[in-house]
């Protein structure tokens, strides 16, 4: 089968196999070819790609739910969309959700995803009570911060390279409504955006959409969106089925002019200040879920996301420099997202660190990777790193310097005999 992830780059020929019981998975793992698990393919790059992949979509059963405590036990192929559909009407929501609900629980743990509430609660893994991991040997280990802790810390954020997460027990949070009270604030530049992020650090949810083509005093022009769970409104607002993007548009349609026009329009479409608007969860958390495969608008060469995190001390300086470069190069980013991050955690390859993260969605074009190589240097100079789940091109050096705990990750891979059996195009590129 042809296989690709969200960025539609690269596309490879792969052999995909599925399973519905542990015994079936054990048999699949006993073959000698290296494999990597593949969930919903919502990672952007090549972390879930390999000539042989284990598709987890059929391992998707709910195993238990405690209505009193909100502890949910599921198989790895259950999606966040399933969890919302089933449990939101019963008054429970995800403790951490990324910007799309069409990902699996296995994928959420492997990327240790973060949401708009990272500054308050941290990553997805914080709400994983335990997980069961099948090693290539077929052995299943129970992992939590206290039990097989090294394997737990390597698996959360470990990009599928430590085994197949079979099941996980995750903590949901109680909610009284399927609505969010949303506040939007227009920020004229980066300084104002930073100021507003800090001033609103007590908000449960915060994220800013940022116009990356602005220069000079307008650099960082953005709209900060804040949210709190509402007490009013009902529990089951209709989540709409995504509209398909039926054709791949010519990539040329997306250029610095069209992006600039869009950004101007989008920025102006927000009033200066909106307070406490009751918004259903779907458009608040998942604006991009409206269109399936929206990436087709980037043309047939596909796209990527460049997501970096910088420590707080150097964030302002670093982000200004980076956005300056981007504007100077005119590589239009349709989607730029800025977010304040809370402290990092103990997992070896988890992405967030205390500071700011910027995510830019970029069309693949010949000069792009050269520009990104330059940005890499700026990121490193400011003590930052790139998000593995979005990455499709960084080199080994960038990885090692961005993730100083990579050695601990390596030694777990060695200790449990994982190196020769679990590999992705990404792990080969990074030499891990």
């Amino acid at each position: 089968m042809k296989l690709t992830a969200w960025g539609r780059y690269p596309q490879i020929k792969a052999n995909g196999v599925t399973f519905e019981t542990r015994a079936q998975l054990g048999r699949l793992l006993s073959s000698t070819d290296p494999v990597i698990p593949y969930g919903m393919g919502r990672s952007y790059g090549d972390s879930a790609l390999n000539p042989k992949v284990i598709l987890t979509n059929r391992f998707d059963k709910i195993l238990g739910f405690d209505q009193k405590t909100g502890l949910l036990h599921v198989e790895c192929g259950v999606t966040l969309a399933d969890i919302i559909d089933i449990f939101l009407p019963r008054g429970w929501f995800l403790s951490v959700t990324p910007g799309t609900r069409f990902i699996t629980v296995g994928g959420a743990i492997s990327s240790d995803v973060h949401g708009k509430n990272h500054h308050k609660v941290g990553c997805f893994s914080r709400f994983v009570h335990y997980l069961e991991l099948m090693l290539p040997s077929g052995d299943v280990l129970h992992c939590s911060p206290d039990e097989n802790g090294d394997l737990f810390r390597a698996t959360c954020g470990g990009m599928g390279l430590t085994g197949i997460i079979l099941t996980a027990a995750i903590q949901l949070q109680p909610v009284r409504s399927g609505f969010i009270r949303e506040t939007d604030i227009r920020c004229r530049n980066l300084e104002e955006a930073f100021h507003q992020f800090e001033a609103n650090a007590a908000s449960t949810y915060s994220v800013a959409w940022i116009d990356c083509l602005q220069r000079g005093g307008n650099i960082g022009r953005s709209i900060l969106m804040l949210g709190e769970h509402a007490d009013t409104g009902h529990l089951a607002p209709k989540f709409r089925t995504p509209l398909p993007m039926p054709i791949t548009l010519p990539g040329l349609l997306l250029n610095r002019y069209s992006v600039a026009m869009f950004n101007r329009f989008y920025y102006r479409s927000y009033p200066n200040y909106v307070e406490d608007r009751l918004t259903p969860m779907e458009p608040f958390f998942y604006p991009l879920d409206r269109i399936t495969a929206y990436g087709r608008m980037y043309g047939r060469h596909g796209f990527t996301q460049y997501q970096l995190a910088l420590p707080k001390e150097s964030s302002y300086e670093g982000l200004r420099t980076i956005m300056d470069r981007i504007a100077a190069e005119g590589i239009g980013s349709f989607l730029g997202v800025l977010k304040l991050l809370g402290p990092g955690n103990d997992n070896y390859l988890s992405f967030p660190l205390q500071g700011y993260t910027l995510a830019l969605e970029l069309k693949i074009e010949p000069r792009l990777f050269r520009v990104l190589d330059e940005l890499d240097r700026i990121v490193l100079d400011h003590g930052g790193r790139l998000y593995l789940t979005k990455d499709v091109r960084m080199g080994r050096d960038m990885f090692i310097r961005g993730y100083p705990r990579w050695k601990e990750f390596e030694s777990v891979r060695e200790k449990y005999g994982l190196k020769s059996k679990l590999q992705s195009l990404q792990s080969e590129r990074l030499g891990i």
């Binding site: 089968m1 042809k2 995909g16 196999v17 599925t18 519905e20 019981t21 059929r58 998707d60 059963k61 709910i62 195993l63 238990g64 739910f65 399933d82 559909d85 089933i86």
Partner: protein, 243 residues
């Protein structure tokens, strides 16, 4: 509503059971051979939708067991989904009669055996519906899978006949004709992405067809057009094609 799903371990069956449990709050009885998987599925449906879901052993090829099997389903179902089936490429069957018979015994004879029992019960009660899963492969014989196609063609004619008979007593029969679907049945095949549906797509089509009391549905819808073109191609031309 109480729904009996024959071949409850089919991937299309699971997706269909989930849709009916969600939309109709239907209780489901999953019937198939692999009891480990079947019970896992039933437990999942109970937790997801808070409906009753049971698993029962059923072998489509053990015809003698069918009367007792159906008698054991209590209370009687309001609807039956026939989903079991086996697939083989013609290149794997060849002219080996035993292999060919396996397809026919399951897809056709097994269906006739169990649906006969269901039909007379529904007719007597003047109540019920039957959803039978055929295949677009049963609409025209092609060298790549004509024995499978023949077993599904037989099923298609049988379902049409049942529909004709049972319409007189208010029992509806719907024939489902899927094209390519990504399930464990087709895992080893290299299916063309753009034409291939997910089991959830097919289940959604089935549920929509059920609500509208359709007689025959294609899934996805464009197979109606593709098969229309294949069916009108004159035999002298068709027989020279390699399909």
């Amino acid at each position: 509503m109480r729904l009996l799903i024959l071949g409850g371990n089919s991937d299309i069956a699971l997706a269909t059971a989930r849709v009916f449990a969600r939309e109709e709050r239907a209780d489901v009885v999953l019937a198939s051979r692999d009891m480990e998987v079947l019970e896992k599925r039933a437990a999942d449906i109970r937790l997801r939708y808070r409906v009753r879901a049971e698993s029962v052993y059923f072998d489509a090829c053990d015809y003698e067991s069918h009367p007792a099997f159906y008698a054991g389903v209590t209370p009687k179902p309001d609807g039956v989904v026939l989903a079991f089936g086996t697939y083989a490429e013609q290149s794997d069957v060849g002219d080996d009669f035993e292999k060919g018979r396996q397809l026919i015994d399951t897809n056709f004879t097994g269906a006739v055996s169990i649906l006969g029992i269901v039909a007379s019960d529904f007719e007597r009660r003047g109540h019920g519906f039957i959803i039978g899963i055929g295949s677009v492969a049963g609409l025209r014989g092609r060298q790549s899978n004509y024995l499978y196609g023949a077993s599904k063609a037989g099923l298609g004619v049988y379902l049409a006949g049942l529909r004709n008979r049972l319409s007189k007593c208010g029992v509806h029969v719907m024939t489902v004709l899927p094209g390519f679907v990504r399930t464990k049945m087709t895992e080893a095949l290299d299916l063309p992405g753009a034409l291939t549906a997910s089991p959830e797509d097919v289940a959604a089509d089935i549920y929509r067809g059920f609500c509208k009391r359709k007689n025959t549905i294609y899934s996805k819808w464009f197979w109606r057009i593709i098969m229309g073109m294949i069916r009108v191609t004159p035999e002298p031309i068709f027989k020279r094609l390699t399909m």
